[in-house]
């Protein structure tokens, strides 16, 4: 099947490690677990390994669990969310 293009956002320490706040990433499978998606991202931006264990993801502005199976389509937005510290 065709690859699909996911808009990936990086915040806080993740943005420090990646060097940019946003990247379009092409992937080959539209159904995969969140932790599999994170592995794909880390393979492209290896310094994210440092925060891998404490990072969460969101899909289209909703938190997902690492074991969730994501059903992705082009244009979807996934954010790499390090531990939050607002308030």
């Amino acid at each position: 099947m065709d690859s699909i293009s996911i808009k990936v956002l990086f915040f806080g320490k993740a943005r420090d490690l990646v060097g940019v706040g946003q990247k379009d990433v092409d992937i080959l499978h539209s159904n995969l677990k969140a932790n599999e998606f994170l592995e794909i991202i880390i393979s492209k931006f290896p310094r994210l390994e440092e925060i891998k264990s404490s990072t969460k993801l969101s899909l289209n502005e909703e938190y997902v669990e690492m074991n969730d199976v994501l059903s992705l389509k082009s244009g979807d937005e996934i954010a790499v969310i390090p531990p939050i510290s607002g308030g």
């Binding site: 990072t55 969101s58 954010a79």
Partner: protein
């Protein structure tokens, strides 16, 4: 009964925010203000820098408001304002104001609100020290750490 939710680069105006929740049928307004502290574990803090995932942050704030209204049916207006960008020592990074006819509801709701905010709302704080170094902070109660605890 209105939710006023804002993420702004402007300085927060306490009077203005509080007036948003001041209704004739309410006898109680509870307010929480988070400010920039000048020290952290012995190091001198020069300023804080906040960034937000704006759209998702507003969504998560709205969820908190909905939860509050489920738990305390007498809550009237809710205002949650968070500042992003630089926040100097003694300036406000967050102001929460909640009104109700009687005080117990608004007092409890504000307590719940700031705790839930720190748990779920995607906003990040960079703490700058006077030696020009910085650290990205982590709320000890954020959902990230929650997960680790629950799986141990």
């Amino acid at each position: 009964m209105t939710d006023y939710l804002e993420i702004t680069t402007r300085k927060l105006d306490l009077e203005e925010i509080t007036q948003l929740v001041n209704l004739p049928e309410c006898g109680a307004i509870s307010v929480f203000i988070g400010t920039t502290r000048n020290n952290m574990n012995g190091k001198l803090v020069k300023r804080l820098e906040y960034e937000a995932y704006n759209n998702m942050a507003i969504k998560e704030m709205k969820k908190i408001c909905d939860q509050i209204r489920l738990k305390w049916s007498d809550i009237r207006n809710i205002a949650i304002f968070h500042r992003i960008g630089e926040v100097q020592v003694q300036q406000s990074s967050i102001i929460i104001a909640i009104s109700s006819p009687h005080r117990k509801d608004s007092l409890e709701a504000v307590d719940y609100c700031i705790n839930e905010f720190k748990r779920t709302v995607p906003i990040w704080k960079k703490e700058w020290y006077d030696d020009s170094t910085y650290v990205w902070k982590e709320n000890c109660e954020c959902i990230h750490h929650e997960k680790k605890i629950s799986t141990n």
